[in-house]
């Protein structure tokens, strides 16, 4: 598929971008055919991080799959945990403790904050700002990781959700510490907006690059910030109303054009909405147990059947499709990876753009290879 007549192309160059590349967000490879600097063909190559998560999960118990879900989208472990716990709760018909529901929302929105912050750092790095924005972004991210460490015991790889609740309760003072971090966060977002949003170079590199129409986005299975940047009003937190999201007031920002600038700005706006949800949840969290008394963890044997559970992860729709035959291990364990499916339209988006734009488009899709390849 080329946008130029064949007679005009004298010689094309085939470049293999990756898997070792500063801007490919991990071991992702793109076989790009260039006419000068313009992309005429782009074929993604996956599988360099295929770690057989689904096969391993078939050999271990239901609970043993929880630490592996941390390692899917390794920047957002807690939302991965929640998606899996949600799917198992659907499969086994389990209820969730009230305090745990609040803790789930709090940790999920904190995860979304630190993911969008890291996204800022990475996309600026892709555009050639070297490590500067990354330093700012990781400075803020460390504050949230400190919260995770005191709550779950680990900075990343938290392994915190359990079926019917969470693994453990908050240490004393954690809610106040979280509130302090959340109250200071809008100041950081203001700082980044002041530095970035009106920046000429950023505008020139992001505006008008790879616009995506709403219909095409839905057809291509885009989810998360990509879908909303194209103007589609679809947020799984509102559509499915899983957990207790229906109790919180928050807006769902939408883009107009669906270009890279919309995707960039949308994540900043989403971060602000997350701050709002966090304020509400931290104010309203009740006392109580963190695991439902009837839920079983080890030795859980869900009745035979299947279930598909999904959440609005920071990268998109993360879903788990589980089939149980009544035993203590999954019969089929399937991860619906948002990052892989968001890359379905990558070739379409990049055709006709310059090679420098390819990195920006890939950065604006915001992928994580642990999720793409599983």
């Amino acid at each position: 598929m080329s946008h130029l007549p064949a007679s005009d192309i004298l010689q094309t160059i085939d470049v293999s971008l990756g898997p070792q590349h500063p801007s490919t967000h991990g071991v992702f490879r793109m076989n790009v055919t260039l006419d000068g600097e313009t992309v005429t063909r782009l074929q993604p190559v996956f599988g360099y991080l295929h770690r057989n998560h689904e096969k391993i999960a078939e050999g271990n118990s239901w609970l043993a799959a929880m630490p592996y879900t941390d390692r899917l989208d390794y920047i957002c472990p807690l939302t991965n945990n929640w998606a899996y716990a949600l799917a198992v709760e659907k499969l086994a018909g389990l209820e969730v403790a009230e305090r745990a529901e609040f803790l789930r929302v709090i940790t999920a929105e904190l995860t979304r904050l630190q993911n969008h912050t890291a996204f800022l750092g990475f996309i600026l790095g892709d555009m050639g700002a070297w490590g500067t924005a990354l330093m700012y972004a990781f400075r803020e991210r460390e504050k949230i990781l400190d919260l995770f460490e005191s709550l779950t015991g680990a900075r990343m790889m938290c392994n915190y959700m359990r079926f019917g609740g969470c693994r453990c309760d908050t240490p004393p003072g954690w809610i106040d510490a979280a509130r302090a971090v959340v109250d200071r966060f809008p100041a950081f977002l203001d700082e980044m907006e002041a530095l970035l949003t009106g920046n000429e170079i950023l505008l020139a590199r992001l505006q008008g690059v790879a616009p995506l129409s709403a219909a095409r986005a839905i057809q291509g299975g885009m989810s998360g910030p990509l879908l909303r940047a194209s103007g589609v009003d679809y947020d799984i937190r509102k559509a499915d109303a899983y957990g207790i999201y229906s109790r919180f007031q928050f807006r769902v920002p939408r883009g107009e054009v669906g270009d890279c600038y919309d995707r960039f700005m949308l994540r900043l706006l989403e971060a602000r909405e997350s701050v709002s949800i966090l304020r509400q949840a931290l104010a309203a969290i009740p006392e109580g147990p963190v695991v439902h008394p009837k839920a079983k963890q080890r030795g859980l044997r869900p009745p035979a059947g299947e279930a598909y559970g999904r959440i609005e992860g920071p990268k998109g729709e993360l879903g788990f499709y589980l089939i149980s035959t009544g035993t203590d291990r999954p019969y089929r364990y399937r991860v619906r990876p948002p990052s892989l499916i968001n890359l379905t339209l990558l070739e379409e988006l990049c055709l006709g753009t310059k090679i420098a734009d390819v990195m920006v488009i890939l950065g604006s899709i915001d992928i994580v290879l642990g999720e793409v390849d599983r």
């Binding site: 898997p19 070792q20 590349h21 500063p22 991990g26 071991v27 599988g47 360099y48 991080l49 295929h50 770690r51 057989n52 998560h53 096969k55 391993i56 050999g59 630490p67 592996y68 390692r71 390794y74 920047i75 490590g131 990354l134 330093m135 990781f138 400075r139 991210r141 460390e142 900075r155 990343m156 790889m157 290879l369 642990g370 390849d373």
Partner: protein, 206 residues
């Protein structure tokens, strides 16, 4: 080496005495340039170690080079899959001597939590020599810094002449490590016997 008491006595009088080995290794260990090469989750902790809070720049390892030709340290951060293994070996071959490898995280050391996987290489030490192994899943940034310090100590102890000298001081032919190929069911060969020759397994307590 030199007597340390004598060295510090002289230093107090403004006379600095050293050996060629020491000063050469001092320069090398304090300016390691890592290859910008993160595979999986450990890469995020590697980036965090290079970020402002943990600051790998204090140890001289700030300059991450995208090209293997300009790097002298490869931090294997993350799981090496069988699909990726030939590329890792090829990158290692492209690095000029002296070069070092840090296996960061359980996956790079032995396959880690994904050891049962059909596509997972059970440790990068099957194909290339590893200098420092840092356990953890993922290791904290401080653990990576300690691993870096251990590597610096190893470099400081390397000799340039005599038996037991460093690999790069050998004037002999430096052959490339053989790159495995994709077979029908597995990599061919499944490991490099010159690099990977562990003791045969025995029962616990035996």
């Amino acid at each position: 080496m030199l007597d340390e008491a004598l060295q510090s006595e002289l230093q107090k009088r403004g006379i600095f005495v050293t050996s060629l080995d020491e000063i050469y290794n001092w320069g090398r260990k304090n300016s390691l340039w890592p290859l910008q090469f993160g595979l999986a989750c450990c890469a995020i902790e590697m980036i965090a170690a290079a970020a402002a809070r943990f600051d790998m720049a204090r140890f001289g390892a700030e300059v991450f080079r995208p090209s293997p030709r300009q790097a002298d340290l490869m931090i294997i951060a993350g799981t090496v899959t069988k699909k990726m293994a030939p590329l890792v070996v090829r990158l290692f071959n492209q690095m000029p001597e002296p070069k070092y490898v840090i296996a960061m995280g359980a996956c790079a050391i032995s396959g880690g939590p994904f050891k049962e996987g059909y596509n997972v290489l059970k440790g990068i030490d099957r194909y290339i020599p590893v200098d420092v192994a840092i356990p953890g899943c993922p290791p904290r940034p401080e653990a990576l810094l300690e691993g870096l310090i251990k590597l610096q100590e190893k470099i400081a102890g390397q000799r340039l002449i005599g038996p037991g000298r460093a690999r790069h001081a050998d004037a002999g032919d430096a052959a490339d490590y053989p790159v495995p190929e994709y077979g029908a069911h597995d990599l061919v060969p499944p490991f490099n016997p010159e690099v990977f020759a562990p003791d045969p397994p025995r029962r616990a307590g035996a």
